[in-house]
């Protein structure tokens, strides 16, 4: 691999729970990724724009407030509309089991629920970003 993988860790909408997003951002950083963290209260439009401007390989979205089925598909459509459909999109947080298939159908590559292993998130990201 010639360059470091670039990952955008994002919080969408009005969901202020940022503990998980920060822990994951730091785990990516410690694992040698280049990390951009959007901070909380981001609109899908702003996250798509940041992802494209920063030319990231991975967009990792943290959701704990129940709006995942509304906001994550919006973001994916925005990325596709702007020709950025090669980015690996991941989701994590409090996402009920029965919503996972809907997110995967929308184009999310992996969903990581509470108690996920950080090393497993890193391994999954490396493997799937390389395949893109």
């Amino acid at each position: 691999m010639n360059r470091k993988l670039r990952v955008l860790v994002a919080k969408l909408g009005l969901d202020a729970h940022d503990r998980g997003a920060k822990v994951v951002a730091r785990a990516y950083r410690d694992a040698g990724f280049e990390v951009i963290y959007t901070g909380i209260y981001q609109r899908p439009e702003a996250v798509a724009e940041a992802a494209i401007q920063e030319d990231v390989d991975v967009v990792a979205i943290s959701s704990l407030a129940g709006a995942h089925l509304t906001l994550i598909p919006q973001l994916i459509h925005l990325l596709k509309d702007q020709g950025a459909d090669d980015m690996l999109v991941l989701a994590g947080g409090v996402i009920p089991e029965e919503d996972i298939s809907a997110l995967l159908a929308e184009g999310v590559a992996g969903v990581f629920g509470p108690g996920s292993d950080l090393d497993e998130i890193i391994r999954f990201t490396r493997e799937h970003a390389a395949a893109k």
Partner: protein, 535 residues
């Protein structure tokens, strides 16, 4: 003979090393009258009341709110029918952040994490059939706290209940929002002004209302250790006392109505010691630093909630046991009220069945275990007294570091708390990953099949958002427009003076101005706070 132990180092959630056993040497210098005192006596280490739960059990107060006001009103009535003794309202994210349900930013979030409130109409439904002179109500909301309190007072007026009869709490703690909870709207200066306006108004007109709930809960849940939770929360408390004194109030006029809210986590003895240390520190600070004369100003009264962050999505029934032990620690720590989490909350909002078990957990502790028959039974334990001293020392050391940075607001601007908390959160996650901290069902005794078991969870019907938007738009269309416009104009005018804003907010609420309209007056005048994120 060898004394082989299971591991090299023993440490709990906060990663403080624990010795094999504690002896009188570990509490050398402890003086009963000076450092503990009898229950109900300064410095209240043993509890704020001489009889504690022999006189009156703690208030069993389950946090509830979802969907529209109708759904939450039904959950409130269910909880009261099950023997709950106080109400506690959870609002949805748009309400917490001052957006009406039809704002573009609210899409997908209406009624999800709590009840959607836009106007007085919603509050009339929320408390329909609940006499406000017979329950106390807590409301977890911060920047719009003044608006929710005014809605509550307006409902009391409609019910013919005098303001001297209503009791409850608004969270109203903006400092911990900048530090951890992040439901801020405005910058610190105008936010503190709203808080001092509420404190001074309620001291005169709503004497049984707790004006602020100085909260460690969110600080802890964001990743802080027990000592950080204790230190940052009490530092916030001192900042509010300073702000109210600076606004011209006498300390004994408002301090008796300050209340606290702590997390209660897994490390049983550390949590008990934390409550005891909190009372001792606060009593000394109020008496010695702020010169309070009224003993009620010295007493730290607190709500407690079991640690949401300790719940696991895996083997979720295990959460019932975690919650029971955390709740027992809160009771042994001498809390005044308690929320017990439901076992399914790592997955979604709790179902009615899960909430009932959580409430029954408190009732079992109260009725069956015998712990409510005796006050502060762990006093004199070498370990608990040592831990109480240690937590106090660690908190005092943090006070010095905060002071050296110019106080709480300056330390927030420098990201001091945010960095400390993020570091602790990451350290804890790493300890879990390397097995140093073991969580049953997650990194110990895990069982893949169990994790995938279908869970019965509470889901919010997408129709909730549509129904709520319809109601709010109808309220806006049918109210007395001239009255609403003039109330908002008056609020805008007064907000640019130093007048107390509460009467103006109440006039807006009674004219059916929406929460979003009121918050926008201030957004326009004061701007919005933005943080630099550190991780």
């Amino acid at each position: 003979m060898s004394h082989q132990e299971r591991k090299e180092r023993f440490a709990g959630v906060s990663d403080r090393e624990v010795k094999r056993a504690y002896t009188p040497d570990d509490v050398a210098g402890l003086e009963y009258a000076r450092d503990l005192g009898d229950p109900g006596e300064y410095p209240y280490t043993r509890g704020v009341h001489p009889t504690m739960y022999r006189g009156k059990l703690w208030t069993m107060r389950q946090f509830a709110g979802f969907g529209t006001a109708e759904e939450t009103n039904a959950r409130f009535k269910y909880l009261l029918a099950q023997g709950q003794t106080g109400l506690s309202t959870a609002f949805d994210m748009p309400t917490l952040l001052g957006y009406d349900s039809d704002h573009a930013y609210a899409n997908g979030e209406v009624g999800k994490l709590g009840v959607a409130i836009d106007s007085l109409r919603d509050f009339e439904i929320l408390f329909d059939g609940i006499p406000l002179d017979q329950v106390s109500t807590s409301m977890t909301i911060n920047p719009p706290a003044s608006i929710m309190l005014c809605m509550y007072l307006a409902v009391a007026d409609q019910q013919g209940v005098g303001w001297d009869k209503v009791s409850g709490t608004i969270q109203n703690d903006i400092l911990k929002d900048y530090i951890a909870q992040k439901t801020y709207i405005y910058p610190p200066e105008p936010s503190l002004r709203l808080i001092t306006d509420i404190i001074s108004f309620t001291a005169k007109h709503v004497p049984k209302w707790n004006t602020i709930s100085i909260s460690g809960y969110h600080i802890r849940e964001a990743g802080a250790t027990a000592a950080q939770e204790l230190a940052f929360t009490l530092a916030d408390g001192m900042q509010y006392v300073q702000a109210a004194i600076a606004a011209g109030m006498d300390v004994d006029e408002f301090a008796p109505r300050l209340s606290f809210f702590f997390d209660v986590h897994n490390d049983f003895f550390e949590e008990i010691a934390k409550f005891r240390a909190a009372r001792r520190i606060w009593a000394r600070v109020m008496r010695e630093k702020f010169g309070a004369k009224n003993p009620r100003s010295w007493m730290l009264r607190t709500h407690a909630q079991t640690a949401g962050v300790s719940l696991t999505a895996q083997q979720r029934e295990n959460n019932i046991i975690r919650v029971a032990m955390q709740a027992l620690a809160a009771v042994l720590g001498g809390t005044q009220s308690l929320h017990t989490n439901s076992y399914d909350e790592a997955l979604a909002l709790p179902t009615e069945d899960a909430v009932r078990i959580a409430l029954r957990t408190q009732q079992v502790i109260a009725e069956e275990t015998g712990v409510a028959s005796v006050v502060d039974p762990l006093a004199g334990s070498y370990y608990v007294e040592h831990l109480t001293n240690r937590l106090e020392e660690e908190a005092l050391a943090y006070f010095d570091r905060i002071e050296a940075q110019g106080g709480v607001v300056k330390a927030i601007e420098k990201n001091f708390f945010q960095r400390e908390i993020a570091d602790s959160a990451y350290r804890f996650q790493r300890r879990m990953m390397n097995g140093d901290y073991r969580v049953v069902g997650v990194n110990a005794y895990a069982d893949g099949a169990e994790a995938k078991k279908e869970a019965q969870i509470l889901r919010i019907d997408p129709a909730v958002q549509r129904r709520q938007i319809e109601r709010t738009q109808q309220v806006r269309a049918t109210r007395d427009q001239a009255k609403a416009a003039s109330a908002l104009a008056e609020l805008r005018r007064a907000s640019q003076t130093s007048e107390n804003l509460m009467p103006y907010i109440l006039a807006c609420v009674k004219a059916y101005c929406t929460e979003g309209e009121i918050c926008n007056v201030w957004r326009d005048l004061w701007g919005e706070y933005r943080e630099e994120s550190v991780y």
